[in-house]
């Protein structure tokens, strides 16, 4: 009974760690080791390796999702994808992904770009930010825990609506 209680306490404590972790300093990330998650050849030198799937180091991190949300605007992803609904580019809230919807596929798509308009971001923006974007895109599809996903964003109007009190201010 006591062990069960201790276990529960540990679980409750740990449940928060991943979600609330705030890596402000990016750890070295092993992303350069694989070039493509969508494999183009079935052959592997040195025999069959266990199927290596790189995972998102920021998976389930609320902070990373929020950073991804910010970068999505800063890097103007919303220019083509709008807020996930799609525009010039395909929507990002969907079931069927053209190039695969796993974190590794999404990473690959952002790094390498895709035909018909998706630019190559690899080398232009840091890898850790690409992973943050991946986390955000997955959160838009409810593939991240609800407790780590922001429910909405403040899309702040560019045109302020209310005037103030200092005399002589006309606009």
């Amino acid at each position: 009974m006591r062990r069960l209680a201790a276990l529960t306490v540990c679980l409750i404590a740990l449940s928060a760690c991943q979600r609330e972790k705030r890596d402000t300093r990016p750890a070295p990330i092993r992303t350069a080791v694989f070039g493509s998650a969508a494999r183009e050849s079935p052959l592997e030198p040195g025999g069959q390796l266990p199927n290596y799937q790189p995972s998102n180091p920021y998976d389930k991190s609320a902070y990373a999702i929020s950073e991804g949300q910010r970068l999505f605007d800063w890097y103007n992803c919303s220019g083509c994808h709008a807020h996930g609904g799609g525009g010039m580019g395909p929507p990002l809230i969907k079931q069927q992904w053209i190039y695969g919807g796993d974190p590794a596929n999404l990473f690959d798509t952002i790094v390498k770009g895709r035909p018909n308009g998706m630019p190559t971001w690899g080398g232009r923006i840091p890898d850790y930010q690409i992973w943050q974007l991946v986390a955000f895109i997955r959160s838009m599809n409810n593939e991240e825990p609800q407790s780590a996903t922001p429910v909405r964003s403040d899309n702040i109007q560019t045109q302020p609506t209310i005037r103030n009190r200092v005399k002589g201010v006309t606009k």
């Binding site: 705030r22 300093r25 840091p126 702040i156 302020p160 609506t161 002589g168």
Partner: protein
């Protein structure tokens, strides 16, 4: 007094008409209230130490209430003290409202300068407004103002609520998303005044400072004209390489250098970066060493800030620093 702060970020070292009036009001309040405080404490001490001569004959242990005459005297005293309190407060109210009106009247009559300031997590976007679009200057974290001319600070925020505060010049004004707030500032003499965000705005609230540089009008004009020019072209191979490093990395997504392909607006404008005295919103003096440290690991100096940690080849770092520091 040096252990108690600096004169250049201080509400009691007024450098302009607005803050001057507030400082006068402050001393009026302080002196008057200090006198009241001393009186109350003296009465308290007398109360605690007096030997109760007048009521010695009254058997308080039995009656628990002094004679009617004593109570009557007390009533009159307390009523008088209350009336004095009311009068003093009324006077202070008049002084306060009067000062407020006087301050809001300053600056509107004369031909002022309008500066737009936008708070961001955790830096200040600065733009000098002008009807002539070609004379609009954009900079960050440092506001130059001409001495003796009122300057209107109009501000809002791009993200959360910030508060603009340069205590030597005026009180605070909140910058709130979706609203525009404004205040007038004016400097009586040349000098450098520091300001700081006063509304808690997230993890790096502590490192969101700005400088106001008050200059004689001619020097201000010269500064303004220089700021209007595009960025200096790289003059040597080293700087040229630095420019290429800048343009080929994530820098350009967030920063603008007028005259190049860098047009990002998420971070401070770097067109005349080297003419500013600090980096990272007043966090560090603008030197080559500090800049190198900042670019190599921005999260070390200001953990949680939004500057990307860009992995640079070691050979690229020095040219980039040289290039940025050439942007006078």
């Amino acid at each position: 007094m040096s252990a108690w702060g600096t004169p250049y970020q201080s509400a009691v070292n007024a450098a302009g008409p607005q803050s001057g009036r507030i400082e006068t009001l402050f001393w009026v309040f302080t002196i008057l209230l200090a006198i009241i405080f001393v009186i109350v404490i003296v009465v308290l001490l007398l109360t605690l130490t007096r030997r109760h001569r007048g009521i010695q004959q009254e058997p308080l242990e039995q009656t628990h209430i002094p004679s009617g005459a004593t109570e009557h005297r007390l009533t009159r005293t307390v009523a008088a003290a209350t009336i004095v309190t009311v009068v003093v407060l009324l006077g202070l109210l008049v002084a306060s409202v009067g000062t407020g009106k006087a301050i809001s009247g300053l600056g509107t009559a004369r031909n002022g300068l309008a500066v737009e300031v936008i708070g961001n997590q955790w830096w200040w976007y600065v733009r000098y407004l002008n009807d002539d679009a070609s004379r609009i200057v954009t900079t960050a974290n440092e506001i130059h103002i001409p001495v003796g001319r009122p300057v209107m600070i109009r501000g809002t925020s791009h993200d959360v609520i910030h508060s603009f505060w340069v205590p030597n010049l005026n009180g605070k004004i909140d910058f709130i998303p979706s609203r525009v707030n404004a205040q007038w500032i004016e400097a009586d003499y040349p000098g450098r005044f520091r300001g700081q965000c006063a509304e808690f705005c997230g993890i790096q609230h502590a490192h969101m400072a700005l400088w106001v540089v008050a200059e004689p009008p001619d020097r201000f004009e010269a500064w303004m004209n220089h700021q209007l020019e595009p960025a200096a072209a790289p003059s040597d191979a080293d700087s040229q390489q630095g420019q290429q490093v800048f343009l080929n990395h994530a820098c350009i997504f967030c920063h603008t250098i007028a005259g190049t392909a860098a047009l990002g607006s998420a971070g401070p404008d770097l067109t005349h970066f080297a003419s500013r005295s600090t980096i990272a919103a007043g966090t560090l003096p603008n030197t080559k060493g500090n800049l190198a440290g900042w670019i190599a690991d921005p999260q070390n100096i200001k953990p949680g800030n939004h500057m990307a940690t860009v992995a640079l080849d070691s050979a690229d770092v020095q040219p980039l620093i040289d290039y940025l520091e050439s942007l006078k």
